[in-house]
Structures are given as C-alpha cells and as structure tokens.
C-alpha cells in the first residue's frame, strides 16, 4: 500500500516558449500513493487539465520530472506510460458504438472475446449505460457520452487513472449514486485515481486527499478534513466550503491578559488570552494586520455577541442561511432550524475563538486555527 504510484517533482508547464509563454502549472510537487483517490480541485483555468495531460503525455513537461509506478515517464510516448484517462470533452470515437468504444480500450491488452464482453457488461451496469451500448456517440446525450468515456477509462488496468471532470454533466441524483459505486470499484481493485472536479461534495466524498490548485500553484494537498479544518492559506479557506468562509480584515492588539481584534465600523472582538496558545499569541502579536476567517456553520447567535443587521434570511429546506451586515461586510450564518428574522433586525453574533482561522494579511498564509498554530 505504500508504494508511490505517481511522483511529480518541480514540474512547470508553459504553453509557448519556456519562461515566456502561458505559465499554466508552477513548480508542482506531488506524491500519490498506490490505491489512493486524489481530487484536483480549483477554479477554471487553474491548470488541472494541464497537469493531467502532462501525466498522460499529451502535453510536454516544460521542466521537472514525472514518475509513474517508479518509472520516469516525462519523455515517454503516451502508449508506454500505462495510464488511463477520461477526457474533459469525452472524445469518443465517432464511428464506433458505445460498446466498441469501451472495448477498444482493452484491445491492446489482448483479452479473449468473452472476458472483454463480461468486463464491458459489468462496467456498463455500474454506470447505467447498458441500454445504449449499441448506439453511436452522435446519437446519445452529453451525460451518456460522459459515462461511456468514463467507462472506457475505468475498464482498463492501468497504473494510474486520470479522470477529468468525469461526472460534470450528470444530474445530482445520478452523480450521488455513481460516486459511491465508482469509489467502491476503484477501491476494490486497488486502482489509483486522480479526479478533476469542480464539485466539492464529490471531492469530499470520493477523495482520500484533495489537491487545491489556483493560478497554476498547488495551494494545499491534504485530507478533506484537514483542508476544511486547517486551510493552509486564505485561498483554500475561502475556496473550499459551502457557503464560503466569512473573512474580515482586522488589526491585532494585545493588552494584559486579553487578545483583541479591531474590525471595521469600530467593532472590537476581545478574547481572554487563555483562549489561544502561547505560540499563537506570540505569532499574532508580531503582526499588526490579519484576516479573520470563520465558517458559516460555526457562527453563533447570542444576545451578548457583537451586533449585526439581518440582510437576508433564507430557508433552504434543510437549513437557514442568514446574511447579516457586519463590520463593513457580510457575515453569513447557517442554522439547522427554520429561523424567521426580519430584514434589518439587529442580532448578536458570537465568534468562538476555537472556530477562528487567522491569516496573514499580506501573504495570506494561515497563522492559526482555533487555539492552535497553523
């Protein structure tokens, strides 16, 4: 289980001339263990597809090395890398039926006809495309094409499975069902998969570890839990989590036995020094300005809290989203009960020190999560 399936070292990708073209991936380092499922998460254009294509061998690596199952592959032809891929644009072969499209992935493996048919049937059942196996790509829907393309990748026995937004076109219900099945399928066979997704739920549900990318830079590579609880920087903190983390600029001041954050509109948050560890207090006192972050689920309402004014009160069927004007910005709270607040009504907002994420206002790097140093 602890063999390295993929090792990316100091990889740069430039489209166009090296050092002058579009710098799509910057100094990427990443190790993936055999049997892991990794989710690549990031906004559009952040370099996810570029990364996959370099691993697969469709785009040359501008700098650095990529090893698959212990072999350096960055100069090998795609055929010799033993990697399977599901493409963002499906890329099914038009003159072949769905069945043939899926089966041709196995051609090179030289399996007997029976085995191939069996495998195709089982993957088709898994992806619920049995009824369209005889159809041609041009005559099926986008979601069906996507599943056919996913099937074509999953059916192979490769050292690495690269799945570029494999379920983006599917309706939420089907996605939820397939998510479970695909995870089971991958885990059962001990496959290693890297999955690009825009869907955080998908990343959380499927992935052992999530790699968050932005602007071609890997921001954080950790378990879903760690990414949620201990975001490495402001970007990861605000990018991951729904609704997004509330953030406010603040100045730090410390008096005898207290830590205080000064927000806009003269709002002051004061905590007993004991709420933070020594190390955190030291780190905070070294800075003048920080960014405070708190997840909407962790914001509490309390009569003795700081005052905000309700701007939005929305019942979503299973939770209430409240947005309040607060410290020159908006503070979003999530409550599990159906709350009915008047717009403009003042509410007391309490920010527990244990739920506070503090970031450096210049570098955006996390300083502390709750009472612990980041």
């Amino acid at each position: 289980m602890n063999a390295t399936a993929l090792s990316i070292e100091n990889v740069d990708k430039f489209y166009g001339p090296v050092d002058h073209g579009v710098h799509a991936v910057k100094q990427l380092n990443m190790d993936v263990m055999k049997g892991e499922i990794i989710a690549l998460l990031g906004s559009s254009g952040c370099g996810k597809t570029s990364t996959l294509r370099m691993i697969a061998g469709f785009e040359p690596v501008s700098r650095g090395t990529i090893s698959v199952a212990g072999r350096q592959v960055q100069t090998l032809a795609p055929v010799r890398r033993n990697v399977a891929m599901a493409f963002e644009g499906y890329s099914l072969y038009p003159p072949l039926t769905v069945r043939e499209n899926i089966a041709f992935a196995l051609k090179a493996a030289k399996l007997s006809q029976n085995v191939v048919e069996e495998k195709v049937a089982s993957i088709a059942k898994l992806l619920e495309i049995e009824d369209i196996l005889g159809r041609y790509p041009s005559s099926i829907s986008g979601g069906q094409q996507q599943r056919a393309s996913l099937g074509r990748a999953l059916i192979r026995e490769a050292d690495l499975h690269l799945l570029d937004e494999p379920m983006g076109q599917l309706e939420p219900q089907l996605r939820a069902v397939l998510r479970g099945r695909i995870k089971h399928y991958i885990k059962e066979r001990g496959l290693t998969a890297i999955l690009v997704t825009h869907d955080q739920t998908e990343a959380n549900a499927l992935a052992d570890r999530i790699a968050v990318m932005e602007g071609g830079v890997l921001q954080q590579f950790d378990t879903p839990q760690m990414i949620k609880e201990r975001p490495a920087n402001l970007f990861t903190g605000t990018f991951v989590g729904e609704p997004p983390m509330n953030v406010f600029e603040a100045s730090v001041s410390g008096t005898e036995g207290r830590v205080a954050f000064g927000l806009e509109d003269g709002i002051r948050l004061e905590y007993p020094a004991a709420d933070f560890s020594h190390a955190v207090r030291d780190a905070l006192m070294k800075r003048k300005n920080v960014v405070l972050g708190i997840r909407p689920y962790s914001v509490r309402r309390s009569a003795d809290g700081v005052t905000g004014r309700v701007a939005v009160n929305q019942w979503l069927g299973d939770q209430t989203h409240i947005a309040a004007d607060f410290a020159g910005g908006t503070m979003v709270l999530v409550e599990h009960d159906r709350t009915n607040l008047e717009i403009g009504q003042p509410i007391g907002i309490r920010l527990d020190p244990g739920s506070l994420h503090v970031f450096d206002s210049e570098s955006g790097m996390a300083i502390s999560h709750g009472e612990e140093l980041a």
Partner: protein, 285 residues
C-alpha cells in the same frame, strides 16, 4: 419563410431553370454537335434538327480522321489513355505524399511549419508559364522530358498543394483528444493515424483526391511543353483536330464529350463527399 406562396415557388422555379439552362446550354450544344457532321454544324441558320451520326465517335475510336484532304491519323484513344494514366498516377502519388504531410502539419506545429505549408500552397499561385521555361531545361538535363515519370512529377505542382491544404483542414477538425484516447489505450501514433485519423478524414481525403484528379485531368500547358504527342493527354491531343483543311467541329465535340465524361461521372458519383469535404475542409484550411 417556412411557408411559401405558389407564386413565389413558381418564380423561384423559373429563376432556377434559367440558371440551369444558361450553364448547361454549352454542354448540351456540344453534346448535340458531337452527333453531327461539319456540314450540318456549320449550316446557316443553325438548327437542332439533324440526322444523328456516330461518324465522329467512330473516327476518334479508330483513329482515322477523314478530312477534305484525305485520311489523317490521330491518337485520340492514346491521349485518353494518357490522361487516365497521368491523372490517376499523379493523384495517387499526391495522396501518398500529401496525406501524411497534411497530418503532420495539422498535428505538429514546429518552427517554420506554417511557412513550409504556405510555400507549398504558393505553387498554386504562380502561373505555370513562369516555371515552364526553366523546367524544360532541367528536364532535358535530367532526362525527364517526354517521360510519364517527369510529367507525374510536375503534376504534383497541381495535386500536392490541393490535397495538402484540404486534408490538413480536415485533420485539424478531428479532436486531438479522440486520437489521444486511442493512443493512451496502448496504440502507437502510426496505428492511431491509420485507424482513427484516416477514417475520420475519409470524406475530406476523397474530396481532395477528386478535385486533384479534375485539376490534373484539365491541365494543358505542362504536357503541351514537356511531352511529345505519344505522352500527351486529351487536352493537348484535341489540338490535332485543327487541321490544315479546317477545324473538325464534330470531332472536337465528340472528343470533348469523351474527355469530360470521366470527370463528370466521378464528380456525380462522389458529389456527397465533395460537398461535405469541401465545405468542412477547404473553408477552414
């Protein structure tokens, strides 16, 4: 616009008919001429009433041309054979060289690739007469004048750029990822080229080949200068009908009918490919 009134439809029909008549008339006239003798063709006023004769075709096929000043030997059938040979061989060579080249230009952008592709295309801009004089000299030195080999070579000036540019556009329309999907499943780039790219570009290649064939067939000046009578195609061979004792209209007409028949038949047969191939390939290419 979906529902048209009868008047509109009638007007449209009339307009279409006029256009068709305008363009088809010369062909019909030639066709009619080919069944007439010089006398009936040249009578005044002209008339469409005549007793058809197969004399012209017979003369072409037997190679014996009856003129006022006696019997003349002509090599029309041989010219026709030359046309077929030259066109088919030229297109075959052009496809063999041009399709892989088109693929390379479509898939691999390397330094100067655009320039090379454009240079190849520019062969089509230059008037043939510009290159003919030096070519005659070269061909004499190389011993290529008056050989099929030399002619087929020079016909590449016509066929190769055409095929290269049309087929390249076609390859560019194929998503590279479709090929990557095949390659990553364990296939070499060559088998990807053969099994994926070639079949997908099939209609484009057919269209390009057909166009190249027609252009090669209709070429006149290269063969006129670089070959002697026994290697010349029909386009040049037809000159023989301008004899000392006059122009043999009937035989010229018959020769034209015979010589446009193959290209016409091909074009009709492959009409679907042509439309598909040209509208997709050429516009983008």
């Amino acid at each position: 616009m979906e529902t048209t009134s009868p008047v509109e439809r009638l007007l449209r029909g009339v307009a279409l008919t006029l256009v068709v008549v305008f363009f088809m008339f010369p062909i019909v006239w030639i066709f009619l001429m080919s069944f007439q003798t010089n006398e009936t063709i040249l009578r005044i006023p002209p008339s469409v009433v005549f007793s058809p004769t197969l004399e012209n075709y017979a003369a072409l096929i037997t190679g014996k041309l009856q003129t006022a000043s006696g019997t003349l030997d002509i090599a029309f059938m041989r010219n026709l054979g030359n046309s077929v040979l030259l066109s088919v061989a030229s297109v075959a060579v052009a496809l063999l060289l041009g399709v892989p080249a088109a693929y390379a230009f479509a898939r691999h952008k390397f330094k100067g690739s655009e320039d090379i592709a454009f240079t190849l295309l520019s062969f089509r801009f230059a008037p043939p007469l510009l290159v003919l004089l030096p070519l005659t000299q070269y061909f004499q030195w190389l011993g290529l004048s008056n050989t099929y080999f030399g002619l087929i070579w020079i016909y590449q000036l016509i066929c190769l750029p055409l095929i290269l540019w049309i087929v390249r556009g076609y390859f560019e329309d194929i998503s590279a990822d479709v090929e990557y999907a095949y390659r990553i499943a364990g296939h070499s780039w060559f088998s990807t080229f053969r099994k994926i790219a070639l079949p997908l570009a099939g209609p484009g290649i057919a269209a390009a080949g057909l166009l190249a064939f027609i252009f090669a067939w209709n070429n006149f000046v290269f063969a006129l200068v670089l070959a002697s009578a026994d290697k010349q195609p029909v386009t040049v061979g037809a000159l023989a009908f301008v004899t000392a004792s006059g122009i043999q209209y009937g035989q010229i007409a018959a020769a034209i009918v015979l010589s446009i028949t193959p290209t016409l038949a091909l074009a009709l047969y492959a009409q679907r490919y042509l439309v598909e191939g040209l509208s997709l390939g050429a516009v983008k290419g």
